[in-house]
């Protein structure tokens, strides 16, 4: 089985974006504010948006199951207040759940949280509880910078985040550390902010001792870990300067990287430098980079081709990247699959 651990619902019917536009307009003019129940998306619309997009490409490329969360750039936690995010997260999470119910063999949901800048992360717990207990979510996306590029929250190692971690450990759900749209003109969202956040989150964990407090907490750093594997020597050296244990021991029981790196040399480096047990297959299609690479004639984000082609993985290791590691990291996914006899 080939599990893609990083998929977002980037192709939701246009009604979703239109509702969000009204919600944003309602922040200035409350008479425009829509009710959640104003959003109507039929099962047929949902089905078509998936069958003609993600599911079509999964079949073409040969992946079986996608961990599917709301569109990352649409989370936009910096907009409005907690109530804005709470309503929006509930809508987006429900849609992903409906997709997963409709295509149970191909999609399993992960949650966005109703984060809001300056608001206690503990406020996100009711939505997380609902998503895990009622919507059978197996993971969540945690935004280390709900301000959208101003980085006003404390580092992920700060105790302010601990209520979320306690719930994650209790439920055995990992967090993908994923920012949203940048509203800071310095940072292009997918070309700078996403990658910077990946690097930043890793380094926050490196300097801290979070995993001493939460030995079973698991973070997935997307986009191949930002700059981290390319600079693995730098990070090993910084850990040494900071008198931390070797990274294997200090971080690699808790931190994992996905394969959203859109060219062969990048995947070759990732699979050479990072232990195989810490690499999970992912493509983030249909996402930031949707085109066809003129150098290969294939989609940039068809990462399975790179994983297939790399000389660094044995068949057993490729199985770990495709399935084994995902089932170990996403414990609830493994339970769900086992319950189906898979």
């Amino acid at each position: 089985m080939i599990i893609d651990v990083h998929g977002h619902y980037t192709t939701a019917p246009a009604a979703l974006g239109a509702w969000r536009d009204l919600q944003i307009a309602g922040l200035k003019d409350p008479t425009k504010a829509p009710k959640a129940s104003d959003l109507k998306i039929s099962d047929d619309e949902l089905r078509e948006s998936i069958e003609t997009n993600q599911l079509k490409k999964m079949k073409e490329r040969g992946s079986d199951l996608t961990i599917f969360s709301p569109r990352a750039s649409f989370m936009a936690h910096h907009i409005g207040d907690f109530q804005t995010s709470a309503t929006w997260a509930a809508i987006c999470n429900e849609l992903c759940f409906r997709v997963a119910e409709m295509f149970p063999e191909h999609f399993v949901p992960a949650a966005m949280l109703p984060q809001s800048p300056g608001v206690d992360p503990a406020t996100c717990i009711p939505e997380l509880v609902k998503c895990v207990e009622q919507y059978r979510n197996v993971g969540l996306n945690l935004n280390p910078d709900p301000s959208g590029g101003h980085w006003t929250s404390p580092p992920l190692t700060d105790r302010a985040w601990y209520p979320i971690y306690e719930k994650m450990v209790e439920y055995d759900v990992p967090a993908m550390i994923h920012v949203s749209t940048s509203c800071n003109g310095c940072f292009h969202t997918t070309g700078a902010h996403y990658l910077n956040a990946d690097t930043t989150a890793f380094m926050q964990c490196l300097t801290g001792e979070l995993f001493k407090d939460f030995p079973t907490l698991k973070f997935l750093i997307p986009h191949g870990g930002g700059a981290v594997p390319y600079h693995w020597g730098r990070f090993r050296g910084l850990a040494q300067e900071l008198k931390k244990p070797l990274l294997d021991e200090h971080l690699l029981n808790n931190i994992f990287f996905d394969t959203c790196v859109y060219h062969q040399p990048g995947i070759d480096l990732l699979t050479k430098v990072i232990p195989v047990k810490n690499i999970l297959f992912a493509s983030e299609m249909i996402g930031a980079v949707r085109g066809i690479d003129p150098e290969t004639g294939h989609y940039y984000d068809d990462t399975k081709r790179y994983v297939e082609a790399t000389a660094n993985l044995t068949p057993e290791e490729r199985y770990m990247v495709y399935e084994g590691n995902a089932r170990r990291v996403f414990g609830r996914l493994d339970q769900q699959l086992k319950a189906k006899g898979l």
Copy 2:
């Protein structure tokens, strides 16, 4: 000749740091503020700080000439106001000039600028003029985020930066895009902020059209280009989405990467992915990562070993990385070397 294009005076005598501490204390209590002339560092002290550190390691490792600028993390443009930075930059630039005068075969100076958050970059020009015209500087360090991790300045493509670019083009001096200490608790200085800034600067240039306005402007992106080469497919794909020309044409006449990547797989990727004409040898020793890699028994920042060992470079290409590209990018360095018959 082996030219290291990225060296900072990280080993300046302790009197420099003590003076800076007083300057910072003087911001709160003006009676403590020192005069520039209070700083006394003798030639013997300067000589010893170089001979026992950078020059010793250059001889051990086999590099000949270092482009030498003030310590990056000490620039700390976020402290005080323009006058604070102006006095501090003048002191630091004078020290690097004195080092270069003392060891003319081994060090050539590059300038820090007296940047200050929210202050017009044009205010930096007098210091730049002095450094080029009187101190024979061949390059400068440009901080894209003088706020120190809050990213309050406009992107490098903004016209606010143009006065500096006009002077750079007039003088034929390139800028290394280099941030300083992070005062944002989210970002570790050397483990996150530096790498993020490299990625951010590249993406700012990718989204803009700066090099149409300045076809001969040259930026050196340090630390191996941050996350950029590892994600080269992503950046090629983003350029395609944004309807930009191929990166070769759009950016690679103007943007160059150094080799400050502290392990073999990173240098292998860099030299595989980025055209050789865009790679300049550098180590940033004695800098962020000063230890010995237990996996190799050699210093992490002894990057010459990786450049020597990579299978991706022919002897001719290695010459370009070590010398040829540096002489092309740093035009005034080439002039100085030619004037010496080199």
